[in-house]
């Protein structure tokens, strides 16, 4: 495994910065895309947010103190970017974030970058009804299969609280899918 401190030094050193950032991009672009896409649902939006995320990562590298792992720090930036994007888009359309997500889910059937069927759409509709935190926990655990410890580091919550959140989320989703 790459020494993270050394890698961060390479990212900060103007001589090695470009090559180190290329490595960072190739390591994280797919997992971060998937994380962002699960939040914003649409490919074009995910593309915008992913680009902004990497630009922010580059800009704030100097202030990265290494208190958390680079992985969780980047996921945190991506999560904030995605949530801010959703809220701004909803505000721009004069609707709530939940209504916006519902609208996007309704459009998923016609989305050429979505190959899910009825059960996937139903699952997305059930997720939208969850509180924001439960949505994030469920998506990170179920779709991205991140460990509780990793999710805890990203969201700054305890593992116990996350397990409870995930459990509640699963119960609500099962209830929704059963009754719809």
């Amino acid at each position: 495994m790459r020494d993270e401190k050394e890698f961060i030094q390479q990212l900060l050193d103007p001589k090695t910065q470009n090559s180190a950032f290329q490595i960072l991009l190739s390591d994280y672009q797919k997992p971060l895309y998937s994380h962002i896409r699960n939040i914003v649902l649409n490919h074009d939006d995910a593309d915008d947010v992913l680009q902004n995320t990497f630009v922010k990562v580059f800009q704030y590298l100097k202030s990265f103190k290494g208190e958390s792992r680079l992985f969780s720090w980047m996921y945190r930036i991506a999560t904030n970017e995605a949530l801010t994007f959703l809220n701004q888009k909803a505000k721009l359309n004069g609707i709530t974030s939940e209504a916006l997500q519902n609208k996007t889910i309704d459009n998923l059937k016609a989305d050429s970058y979505f190959d899910g069927d009825e059960i996937q759409i139903k699952l997305q509709k059930a997720i939208v009804l969850l509180p924001e935190k439960q949505q994030l926990v469920f998506k990170m655990k179920y779709f991205q299969e991140l460990k509780y410890e990793e999710i805890a580091a990203i969201l700054g919550t305890s593992v116990g609280a996350l397990k409870a959140s995930y459990h509640h989320a699963v119960k609500k989703i099962e209830l929704y899918v059963t009754s719809n």
């Binding site: 490919h43 680009q51 630009v55 970058y113 979505f114 899910g116 996937q120 099962e174 059963t178």
Partner: protein
């Protein structure tokens, strides 16, 4: 109806796809954006500077709130304007014209002579038309 249990079902994927070769040129796209951002001189419009805006709003608010106070201060100023003084002297005061005349000194009379410069002819007219001429002369 059979209860739906996530753990009993085959894993449900999110179902999201990316365009072909999306990740091939993604890093180039990001690096280009970063380089362009570095070259650009960052211009921060004044309206985006929260601090400036807050100060501006605070200053305008204070000035607006002070307008009635300043107006009120001017109105309650201790200096009396001429009209008020005149009205007071005419209607409220016990002073009569004799009291006023008593207060006049040589300088004031001189001033009055200059201010009320009556022509000889006008003076004669007044004197000839005044029925109390005799009493005035005796005074």
């Amino acid at each position: 109806m059979k209860a739906f249990k996530l753990e009993n079902e085959p894993k449900i994927t999110a179902g999201f796809k990316t365009p072909d070769h999306y990740f091939d040129d993604f890093s180039a796209k990001v690096l280009k954006q970063i380089n362009e951002g570095e070259k650009e001189v960052k211009v921060i419009p004044i309206y985006k500077r929260k601090k400036v805006l807050t100060t501006l709003v605070a200053a305008v608010t204070v000035i607006t709130l002070m307008i009635p106070i300043i107006n009120n201060y001017n109105r309650t100023s201790k200096e009396l304007d001429e009209a008020t003084l005149e009205t007071y002297l005419s209607y409220q005061s016990n002073l009569n014209q004799y009291d006023l005349i008593k207060e006049l000194d040589a300088k004031d009379i001189d001033k009055l002579n200059k201010n009320v410069a009556l022509e000889q002819e006008t003076l004669e007219d007044i004197l000839s038309s005044n029925p109390n001429l005799e009493s005035l002369i005796s005074e």
